[in-house]
């Protein structure tokens, strides 16, 4: 068994135990749910950004597509929420496939085009003319399937899936090929790596994780508006958590979310008046002194971070 996979197995076990047992001593279930959601999103973003170098500013578009995909499956097909979560993942993958041509762009142009695509998707969903399908701006209401416990365990499963997927990619030839694409797509292509195909696969896997998380989030809160699930804040938080932990690793997005989302909640409750100042300072210091994230501290000391 490769070392990366062993390390991933340890991370999976610790994550599983943490989110199974913490609810017994800390009963704000929604905070734990959000923590898992952002960890899964951070891992999903890391698959495309950390492993291939493409940063999608509009990553929240997949999240929103998943939330609406799942909600529509519940509303119109009367499917169980578990099946609806899978439909949500599928909806995000579908959106991902439509957006594959964006890879003709690179760098900031790709990021901005992706952001525009997410905004376009938001306005399509919120369009009053689609009220009969998406409820337009009037939002979704799913009281008939409200089940916070079911959604909690589903989100834990999605987080573990994202962890295993990340660990698998990192330790596989597929991950090596993605790293080659990240470093230099032209050289990777000349070395026999099918850049278009592998990049598209990682893009769709990244979309799948966000879609599953979005559908589960929609199920958990059961009443939401387009701006709730397409809010750019969700995407910005996810990017910051990945950067803070360290891109291109399995552990980085988990640690980044744990610390920053924890701090976000702690500061927001203890000193809300200084929230923006403190949180902003943390991010400025991160960019100045730890541009490669927290895991770079360990790497500098020769410690291999999975």
């Amino acid at each position: 068994m490769p070392k990366t996979w062993r390390s991933t197995a340890v991370i999976v076990a610790i994550t599983l135990l943490t989110f199974v047992f913490v609810p017994y001593i800390y009963n704000n279930q929604f905070l734990l749910f959000n923590m898992m959601m952002y960890m899964a999103l951070a891992l999903g973003l890391n698959i495309i950004y950390g492993y291939t170098g493409y940063l999608p500013f509009g990553y929240v578009g997949f999240f929103g597509a998943g939330a609406y995909g799942g909600a529509l499956a519940i509303t119109f097909l009367h499917w169980s929420p578990y099946l609806a979560v899978i439909v949500g993942g599928g909806a995000a993958v579908l959106v991902g496939m439509i957006l594959i041509p964006l890879f003709r762009l690179s760098g900031a142009y790709f990021s901005i085009a992706n952001l525009a695509a997410a905004e376009a998707l938001y306005y399509i969903v919120a369009n009053p003319h689609l009220e009969s399908i998406t409820q337009g701006p009037y939002g979704i209401s799913l009281p008939q399937v409200y089940d916070p416990n079911g959604a909690y365990w589903t989100m834990l499963f999605i987080l573990l899936f994202a962890l295993v997927l990340s660990g698998f990619i990192r330790g596989s030839r597929f991950g090596l090929a993605l790293a080659a694409i990240r470093e230099n797509p032209l050289s990777a292509s000349m070395s026999g790596v099918n850049v278009v195909k592998l990049r598209s696969i990682s893009w769709l896997l990244s979309a799948l994780v966000a879609g599953l998380a979005g559908a589960t989030f929609g199920w958990y809160i059961s009443v939401f508006y387009p701006e709730t699930v397409f809010g750019l804040g969700i995407g910005v938080f996810t990017i910051v958590f990945v950067l803070f932990g360290g891109i291109g690793t399995v552990l980085g997005p988990i640690v980044g979310t744990l610390i920053l989302y924890g701090a976000y909640n702690y500061i927001g409750i203890s000193t809300p008046q200084y929230f923006q100042l403190v949180y902003g300072l943390i991010i400025v210091l991160l960019v100045l002194f730890l541009p490669n994230g927290l895991v770079s501290l360990a790497k500098r000391r020769g410690i291999d971070v999975p």
Partner: protein, 413 residues
């Protein structure tokens, strides 16, 4: 014999402790709420919270609220967190209020978006949600059979424009253009106005939506003009109203009647952004404090008394959000004073019992079975020049009118 006596003593002491525990009143009534210290909803949310805080300070100065279940006054303690206008953070904080702070009373943040995430949580934990300004109709659907929500202030937003539709028909207006921002609050008003006008025999000659973030209405205004409407109603948030009125003022176009909703909610905010010239003769709703309930008030202070006390205490000028926050405190207070037991179900039953029987500074408090507010209505007002400056005054219906309307509005020089 000794063993029997001991057993009896233990049983007696146990039952005494048990009965004391069951009847022991809490030292404070914990009231949990959220406010948006930043973000889209901060302006209205902080004002609403200030109104609620003022109520808490007032009742604590008198020793607390009277709780009928314990037959005495108990101080209230407000536990409030800043959700920064974020629904995900709001949901987490509502959860914290219920599960960790174990509040007795849960009050929602401002507006439908920040209220929406509290509804399933309140229902799951069987705690009554006092909804201050979340007026979305889908919170109160009979099919949901949710008894854990009460809208304390405004009627549901889909009810708001019914008086406006009647007013337009009274003026003989036949052709109406409706423009609205794509959000729940604006869309539901636009749809109601459209359907009510059609029922009354009017023609809706333009009916379109724009994104919330729209900041330029020049092109849309010219498209509306092509439809030759006699009245134009624009529904949106404050930023939409401001941009719409500014662009209308500079467009050179003329419509005999213009309606926007936000002067009723934040008159000074809109006036300062738009300027007096563009505001003159524009129609809007009229809500407290612009409509002043004094003589009718049967519960709590009159609006004049509240305004005097609030500003004396160092508060800013009052607006609808401030009144809504304070009014929620009054409804909570009355529910505690009337509930036979100190339970959520008993409070809900008490609210049903006094629904339609009390009149506060915000209007008649009356809720239906689903908890939606049906007692208050919003008259139509017009922004008219007065010796003391521009003033939004009720002009319809007749029983609420404080001034005579000007229709068609004079052309701008």
């Amino acid at each position: 014999m000794i063993r029997k006596t001991l057993l009896l003593m233990i049983l007696g002491v146990s039952s005494l402790i048990f009965s004391l525990g069951a009847w022991a009143a809490p030292s404070v009534i914990k009231i949990g709420t959220l406010y948006a210290g930043s973000g889209n909803f901060s302006q209205a949310s902080t004002r609403q919270y200030a109104g609620l805080q003022f109520w808490a300070d007032q009742v604590n100065a008198k020793g607390g609220v009277y709780v009928k279940a314990y037959g005495k006054r108990i101080p209230v303690k407000l536990i409030a967190y800043n959700d920064q206008s974020s629904t995900t953070l709001a949901a987490s904080l509502y959860n914290r209020l219920i599960t960790q702070d174990r509040v007795h009373i849960l009050i929602a943040d401002y507006g439908s978006v920040l209220t929406s995430v509290a509804i399933p949580l309140a229902r799951e934990h069987r705690i009554l949600l006092f909804d201050e300004t979340g007026t979305s109709g889908k919170f109160f659907r009979p099919a949901d059979k949710n008894r854990y929500i009460v809208l304390t202030g405004l009627p549901t937003s889909s009810e708001w424009p019914k008086v406006l539709a009647n007013f337009m028909r009274k003026l003989g207006i036949q052709r109406v253009a409706i423009l609205y921002a794509a959000n729940d609050w604006s869309g539901s008003q636009a749809n109601t106005l459209k359907s009510t006008l059609k029922k009354l025999g009017a023609d809706v000659v333009f009916f379109e939506s724009v994104p919330d973030s729209t900041s330029s209405y020049s092109t849309i205004l010219h498209r509306i003009a092509e439809a030759k409407p006699e009245a134009v109603a624009e529904f949106g948030y404050s930023n939409n109203d401001v941009a719409f009125l500014q662009d209308y003022a500079s467009s050179g176009l003329y419509f005999p009647m213009l309606f926007v909703p936000n002067p009723a909610l934040h008159f000074e905010v809109v006036r300062k952004a738009v300027g007096n010239a563009a505001m003159r003769y524009v129609y809007s709703y009229v809500a407290p404090p612009l409509i002043r309930y004094n003589r009718e008030v049967t519960h709590g202070p009159t609006l004049d008394a509240f305004e005097a006390a609030y500003t004396k205490s160092g508060g800013r000028n009052i607006d609808l959000s401030t009144v809504a926050g304070y009014n929620t405190g009054l409804i909570v207070q009355h529910a505690l004073a009337k509930a036979a037991k100190y339970t959520q179900e008993s409070m809900r039953t008490a609210i049903d019992a006094f629904s339609g029987k009390i009149f506060t500074l915000d209007g008649l408090f009356k809720v239906n079975h689903e908890g939606a507010q049906i007692g208050e209505s919003l008259p139509v007002g017009q922004i008219l020049p007065t010796p003391s400056g521009l003033k939004l005054q009720a002009v319809f219906p007749v029983e609420s009118a404080a001034a005579k309307y000007v229709y068609p509005q004079p052309r701008k020089p």
